[in-house]
Amino acid sequence: MTDPTTDRPGAVAALRSDPASRKRFLRMGGAGLAGALALTLSACGSEEEKSPAEGTDVAAAAAGVSAEVSKADPALRRFGEGDLAIANYALTLEFVETAFYEKALDSGVLTGSAQELFKRFGEQERTHVEALTKLIRSSGGTPVEPPKTKFTFDDSAATLDLAATFEDLGANAYLGQAAKIQSPEILATALSIHSVEARHAAALLGITGKPAAPRAFAEPADAGTVLAAVQPYLVAQES
């Protein structure tokens, strides 16, 4: 059995294999429980009694670590604040994907089942753009403009690889923001798109003979990493 720690562990894998992070996690996730139990035990006069003060310390430590997990991504500042910044960041990525599929199909390098996948996935990305645009407007925000993009389409294989790269990035970008989203509506939308990006990535990897799910736990990507990876495909805007 492969140890996920050797395989760029995800959050759960890290928890599982590292006793220190399990303790941190316990403080993080188990704060309410630990606090309640500390009080209960002291009320019952148990031998394993903890003072209420100690329970409060654990809760305070937990609040700190939870804040860390859900802290806003600094690279998102140019998109504004909070959920709207996340939604506009997601919209930017969806614009790039939509433009990529459209231009790839226009380039004529794709045929057969690859071409079919591109048509289908391109339509779905366009639907994501529409949904995010509506969501941002209804939440009182202003949707970003589509960025100008540039891609090179040498052949079918390179184009499929690039598609898989964009979809992997997209999925991991959503994953990187999930814990930072406050609005249940925006979270539900982000989750329902996240897994579709993952389906796209898997099919594109699979069709080129690569592992569709290269590890047991997906790795989130922060906005700085994602935006830097997308940068080469954007035409510099005059500011």
């Binding site: 209960t40 996935f121 898997a202």
Partner: protein, 208 residues
């Protein structure tokens, strides 16, 4: 192997009952603390304790689904699958086993009690059976995580669940492609309620 459609699935109910029992236990503890320290001290404790118990229930529900998927891929080893699918079943089965281990450790880390593995039964005789069930299980897994994740109180648990659901979605996408289906049947994945997921998987739980 036979197909059986039981009308009831005690194993799953036990998961729920276990969680409920635990919630009420924790709630009682928090209320007892309130009696001692005053109601104002207890209010945040009650809501936090309940939220925490809720996360454990969600994690145990996810664990039950991962048991199901892991056992399914193990059962698929007995089938005459073409090489590509046999390799995929082995790989995906390994992922599901890692999810089982990770969820078990997480539940234990939160001082919860991991749900027991229900006895599953799969009507698997052919490659077509394998593909049909694999698509159903992976699609259901994705929808179950997407439905449950917004209920999670802990952002750390949410992030961890997200890392798993992405892998379930990758499995679903690739298996659907290999089954000749659209890898992503809709632009937005469904979110199923706990009850809908239970209804979908109950036929796979052995009752006797």
């Amino acid at each position: 192997m036979t197909t059986r459609i039981p009308t009831d699935a005690p194993a799953l109910h036990a998961v729920e009952v276990g969680g409920m029992t635990r919630s009420s236990f924790i709630l009682r503890g928090a209320l007892a603390a309130g009696a001692l320290f005053g109601a104002s001290a207890a209010t945040p404790l009650v809501s936090r304790a309940l939220a925490q118990a809720g996360d454990i229930e969600v994690l145990n529900f996810a664990l039950t689904l991962e048991y199901l998927e892991a056992d399914f891929y193990t059962a698929a080893r007995e089938l005459p699958l073409r090489e590509e699918l046999a390799a995929l079943a082995a790989e995906f089965g390994e992922h599901e086993r890692q999810h089982v281990d990770a969820l078990t450790a997480t539940i234990t880390g939160l001082e919860g009690e991991p749900a027991k593995r229900p006895p599953f039964e799969f009507a698997l005789q052919s490659e077509a059976d394998f593909l049909r069930l694999a698509v159903m299980l992976e699609d259901t897994g994705v929808a179950a995580y997407n439905g449950a994740a917004p209920r999670l109180e802990s952002k750390a648990v949410l992030a961890a669940a997200g890392g798993i659901v992405q892998v379930e979605a990758r499995h679903a996408g690739e298996i659907r492609r290999l089954a000749g289906k659209d890898p992503a049947p809709a632009a937005f994945d469904r979110a199923l309620s706990t009850q809908e997921v239970q209804a979908a998987i109950e036929p796979l739980i052995r009752t006797s």
